[in-house]
């Protein structure tokens, strides 16, 4: 099957990061699709938590946001924002997903400003739960399309900690979570070298090359010792994505290959 879109590769790869029994902190967009996909396949007992205060929903329709009433209906608990976020501090959250405007080689993120903080060129939406998730979830995954303006040597504002300056820096800062484990992009799946904590290329989507990935990243990046090729998603997964979870293609585009 050659008509798998990049979004579909991303959704499937993100879904795979969720283990059965995990408590996963989920935001709008691809993470939501990935979480539904995981729950419908290999991780039926995943507990989904949304920052609006919704725990473990069973939505009939795809939600348009983390506070969407489609999530409230049929959830197992509705509470408030403090409750949901305090689960992170309690070390009850296994995995969180984050998007970003900028990411550096250590997985540090900026979703606050482009330009100086007090008089920015572009004012972005701000941290939201991102800093909390990255600081306190046991692990987190970044979902970001490759772009030399996004994958930068140094973020213009440190919204959300990855590995900070490298090995030992998170521990020194007192951050309870273990940090980023994966960066899921539209051409490859990236990870972090366990020794240097720098980003590396771990898997290429079919058709993508290492050179092409490197070209779209503004900092030097190597391949992992064994650079793999991501297999095409199972037909069953694709059918779930296309027919059940996101039939209108709201979050998972079909066209871009």
């Amino acid at each position: 099957m050659t008509d798998v879109s990049r979004d579909e590769y991303m959704a499937v790869a993100a879904s795979r990061e969720i283990r059965d029994g995990d408590t996963a902190f989920i935001g709008t967009g691809l993470p939501m699709v990935a979480a539904y996909l995981a729950k419908a396949t290999h991780a039926p007992r995943v507990n989904l938590v949304f920052e609006s205060g919704i725990i473990d929903p069973q939505p009939v329709d795809l939600a348009t946001g983390v506070g969407d009433y489609r999530l409230v209906h049929g959830s197992t608990k509705v509470a408030g924002t403090f409750y949901a976020l305090s689960l992170l501090q309690q070390a009850k959250v296994d995995i969180g997903f984050l998007g970003t405007a900028e990411i550096d080689p250590y997985g540090n993120l900026n979703s606050t400003v482009i330009g100086p903080y007090d008089r920015p060129r572009v004012r972005l939406p701000g941290s939201g739960g991102a800093n909390d998730i990255a600081s306190m979830a046991k692990r987190f995954v970044v979902i970001a399309r490759l772009d030399r303006k996004r994958f930068v040597e140094k973020v213009q504002y440190l919204t959300t900690p990855g590995f900070l300056t490298g090995p030992g820096a998170r521990e020194a800062a007192g951050l309870p979570g273990a940090g980023p484990v994966r960066v899921i992009s539209d051409r490859a799946i990236l990870g972090f070298d366990p020794a240097s904590r720098r980003m590396r290329v771990e898997r290429l989507y079919p058709g993508a090359t290492l050179a092409e990935v490197q070209e779209h990243i503004a900092f030097p990046i190597d391949a992992a010792p064994t650079l793999e090729i991501e297999p095409e998603p199972d037909l069953h997964l694709l059918r779930l994505l296309r027919d059940v979870i996101d039939p209108d293609g709201v979050y998972v585009g079909r066209d871009e290959r």
């Binding site: 709008t28 920052e51 609006s52 205060g53 919704i54 009939v60 329709d61 795809l62 348009t64 946001g65 983390v66 506070g67 969407d68 009433y69 489609r70 409230v72 209906h73 509705v78 509470a79 408030g80 924002t81 403090f82 976020l85 305090s86 992170l88 501090q89 606050t112 007090d118 008089r119 920015p120 060129r121 572009v122 004012r123 972005l124 939406p125 701000g126 941290s127 939201g128 739960g129 991102a130 800093n131 909390d132 600081s135 306190m136 440190l158 919204t159 959300t160 900690p161 800062a173 007192g174 951050l175 309870p176 209108d248 709201v250």
Partner: protein, 302 residues
């Protein structure tokens, strides 16, 4: 406070209690239960130099920014889910006309909670903003030698404005669905104004006390404002009005279009009921939720 037999006031009267220069916090999350009728009334009356101590009440922030009424905003995330960033708010920050102080959600909620619990600080493990400004967050050793926390300082707004499902005249407030940050916002604010879809007898409240979000002792004013969250929604009553939000979002790309939009939907209408009439009843009925689901099943994701 509780000396008055009823806390019911008009929307105009409630809005009048917010002076220029006051600090506000407002309920709501994403496209849900934001007190927008109150916000429109405040814009209609006109205020300046307001401070917003907020978490995710993006639409309140955006409309106040569009009307040029904001001076300072403490916040953690303003994002119109499904649309994009708040345009007028962001432009004002970029132009330097609104000063901001960023937090993570947990940092912001904890700052409100510190004040709400009467504490001079709240300890958290996340490092709010990571390179925290000294006045908002400081690293602090536990006196028991068992760890280090980030202490965040209290934020105490003058007024909290909340939109909820129903209340009695005494100020017992109930809301269905998620409660976002309302509990902490109502606790911390010096004055609490609640607008509601329905006024009910206290006996109705007493039948489901487990649904009460704010007991009367937390509430100063109650305003009866059906569709008071429009164009955001209220769980169990109506869904958010996606086309109306999209219209605003399109207008908000330019200052001129935003001004025209505000003229049409705020300044050009004498009050909330004129606003509802202009929307038309058929439009409002299209937002009515499926009672079995609590949401509008047919809504398009646009």
């Amino acid at each position: 406070m509780a000396q008055t037999p009823s806390k019911l006031v008009s929307l105009a009267e409630a809005a009048q209690s917010v002076a220029s220069g006051a600090s506000l916090t407002a309920g709501g999350f994403a496209h849900s239960h934001q007190p927008l009728a109150f916000t429109r009334e405040l814009v209609r009356q006109g205020r300046s130099q307001l401070t917003l101590m907020s978490v995710a009440e993006c639409w309140v922030a955006e409309f106040l920014a569009a009307a040029g009424m904001l001076e300072k905003v403490y916040f953690s995330n303003f994002m119109f889910e499904g649309y994009g960033r708040c345009q007028r708010f962001s432009k004002a920050v970029e132009a330097g006309t609104i000063a901001v102080e960023d937090h993570s959600h947990f940092g912001m909620v904890s700052r409100l909670m510190a004040a709400g619990l009467g504490l001079p600080f709240m300890p958290i493990l996340a490092v709010s903003g990571f390179e925290p400004a000294a006045h908002k967050a400081k690293r602090l050793d536990s006196p028991f030698g068992n760890g280090v926390v980030t202490a965040v300082s209290p934020l105490k707004p003058d007024v909290a404005v909340i939109h909820a499902a129903r209340a009695d005249r005494l100020g017992n407030v109930q809301l269905f669905g998620t409660t976002s940050v309302i509990e902490e916002q109502a606790r911390t604010a010096a004055q609490v104004i609640v607008t509601v879809e329905e006024i009910v007898e206290t006996d109705v409240i007493r039948r489901q006390p487990e649904l009460t979000l704010l007991p009367a002792l937390m509430v100063d004013m109650v305003v009866h404002v059906p569709y008071g969250a429009h164009p955001t929604g209220v769980y169990g009553y109506y869904d958010h009005d996606a086309p109306h939000l999209a219209d605003y979002y399109a207008a908000s790309r330019s200052e001129t279009d935003t001004a025209a939009w505000l003229d049409r939907w705020v300044h050009g209408l004498p009050d909330h009921f004129a606003y509802l009439d202009t929307l038309t009843i058929s439009r409002l009925l299209r937002l009515r939720v499926d009672p079995a689901l609590g949401y509008l099943h047919e809504v398009r994701h646009d």
